[in-house]
Point group: C2
Chain length 384, copies 2
């Protein structure tokens, strides 16, 4: 139940055993084409160029920044957790001037402060935002308003959707996202090791205009060129391409909208259940609560390390603790990919019973009733 | 029989099916430790720091250059093929001044021209060399002399050993290689997707002294820091770590020296066999011929595309053509990883018969006799 990498189905794991083929062959071009088409479906785009990188999501973020920004460019990157800070670092290391409206952990900067930031430079090249901040469990649902701001100031709109794409709405074409980044190991439920990026027509123009790249490996222009013949410029992590292809087929079979609804329903079940036994969500604003990373504040007296090791050893449930300044204060669990009724039930049951074992006064059956009620199952009194 | 990715044994493929675990856990730290130890064995080093990156070999080259070079630094990078050019590009994109003594394709620049290059800048930060040029089948065996040059001019010594490490000698400590780079999918016979780097104490000092990194993903300083607790800074391509671990165990079981000897014997069998039927090696100098990438010049009248597609469709043997300016002029095959007597025999048999089929006048049995003779097997007259 980690907030990524998530569990991977046997079907996807087995796909990795497909033969090691020549990445300069027709067979690979076919696989590459299928992966790109599957990505277009989950990015909900008909127009964007898709690039798959053999790297983690952070590599994808670096590649996006390197392909769009030049030293001296100004960018606005709201900072409200570890991963939005990383997005800022990625731009800063390139020599870009980063303007970062901040928010307290667990919240989001308001639109006014973002607009004030957009005014701080004569020309802001891009407004870059983390859609779902994995370190706090906060989702920026008002992407439309951010896009309008980007338009108003003539800036590109870049979205880091690593821990959310495929688990919450992100229609790339409709929203006008210029560069969108995700990873294989989160809501797509494939193994870790691939980053996926989309580029709008306008973003593509900027990429193509660039002279020397900042690095070879993340030189997106070269990926565009090789994609014309169904190739990647450098040796791809082939087994992971096979796995992603299979994972994308599964997304298509389920249907993107159903998949997103499933994530929302499971997330509500988690929040309702924990709140019913007095555990509060780290994110106070209901509208900003993530459907893919559930962040809850520890009740008094529960010690993070002890709780998570008993949960792992006695209940076989792996969850994550807090990140950075939130270490010891909260726990985070992934509501991603394969999450379903059975998984939510088992997780809530395990966590509530583990808390009770550690002396927290609560009634696990109460939490479970809230799970079933949120999941739309008939509720019944466990004690009867 | 591609010059990478090479065939991967079932044992290594199956290892990828190990469970997706938390990369911030004791289990991963254990796996990470084993991989690092296995890498130390193949790099023949006790002292160097090892970093495993989830990227292709080119990503590893970028990471090495980014971690050592600053804009304005001078480096000497001999250019004698596609991959040595890439090494140069990697440095150039960082703003380094690249001095590149050149050689004709199929050969190596001589030591005098390298030394002349070392004198062209008041201070050369590093002498960087491709040990085995995959695009031409040439190996730079006189690494010791290059290291002496590097020492003489107070430069670091960086070796790109992507298509050769594990298949030819490269004792990193003994030779004093400061940064060595390899990939998972070549002589180590693991699937593609990981780059491995070693850093000497001196290289480590330079890495640690750097202020801002050039990118997050290739920020080696951060890899050093996370390695202290058995972690990687970013989500690792976990299935590929499992596979590499298994592949490294296989190397250890065979023994590095035996493995290198096996590559040498198989390479000799390939060269002898092809030459016996009038096909000449692209690399004329016997001492410079690669033991891991066998590059042969097409005889007159054989058309590359046609030859390789018949070889693939009728004989089920995949080999590579020439790269860049050598396209259509030569074929290249990998003598890597799992290569053995059966594989050499089947490959030579297929290639000789395919050439004959296309009208080249040769006697395949002659080539096979040379194979068996080189492999130390009793020879016998096929026609009797």
């Amino acid at each position: 139940m980690l907030p990524g990498p998530t569990n991977v189905s046997d079907r996807v794991m087995q796909a990795m055993l497909s033969p090691v083929i020549n990445h300069r062959s027709h067979d690979f071009a076919e696989l590459h084409k299928n992966v790109i088409e599957g990505c277009r479906y989950v990015f909900d785009t008909k127009k964007a160029d898709i690039v798959v990188l053999s790297s983690s999501g952070t590599g994808g973020v670096d590649a996006a920044m390197q392909s769009i920004l030049d030293p001296g460019d100004s960018v606005v990157i709201p900072a409200f957790g570890e991963f939005s800070s990383r997005l800022g670092d990625s731009a800063r290391y390139l020599g870009a001037k980063v303007i970062a409206p901040e928010a307290n952990l667990g919240g989001l900067p308001n639109l006014e402060s973002v607009e004030a930031s957009m005014k701080q430079a004569p020309k802001v090249k891009a407004l870059c935002v983390v859609y779902n901040e994995t370190s706090t469990g906060v989702t920026w649902r008002k992407l439309k308003e951010l896009k309008e701001l980007a338009n108003k100031y003539g800036s590109l709109f870049i979205v880091d959707a690593i821990s959310v794409l495929g688990g919450d709405f992100l229609p790339v074409d409709e929203l006008g996202v210029d560069v969108c980044i995700t990873g294989s190991q989160k809501c797509l439920a494939a193994p870790p090791g691939l980053a996926i990026l989309s580029f709008s027509e306008e973003a593509r123009k900027i990429v193509m205009k660039a002279k020397d790249p900042k690095s070879q490996y993340f030189d997106i222009k070269r990926y565009f060129k090789y994609a014309e013949s169904g190739e990647t410029p450098y040796t791809p992590a082939l087994p992971l391409f096979y796995a992603l292809d299979e994972a994308l087929k599964i997304v298509k079979e389920e249907g993107l909208e159903r998949r997103i609804r499933r994530h929302a329903v499971c997330a509500k079940a988690f929040y309702d259940a924990f709140e019913s036994i007095g555990i509060s969500a780290h994110c106070k604003n209901l509208e900003e609560r993530s459907h893919t990373v559930i962040g809850m504040v520890y009740p008094k007296g529960i010690e993070d390390q002890k709780f998570r090791s008993i949960l792992s050893e006695k209940f076989w449930i792996l969850i994550a603790g807090g990140f950075g300044a939130l270490r010891g204060k909260m726990f985070r669990l992934g509501c991603m990919g394969e999450v379903n009724q059975q998984i939510v039930t088992a997780t809530v049951s395990g966590i509530a019973n583990c808390l009770k074992l550690l002396g927290y006064d609560c009634d696990p059956s109460r939490a479970l009733e809230r799970v079933w009620s949120a999941l739309g199952e008939p509720t019944f009194d466990l004690k009867s």
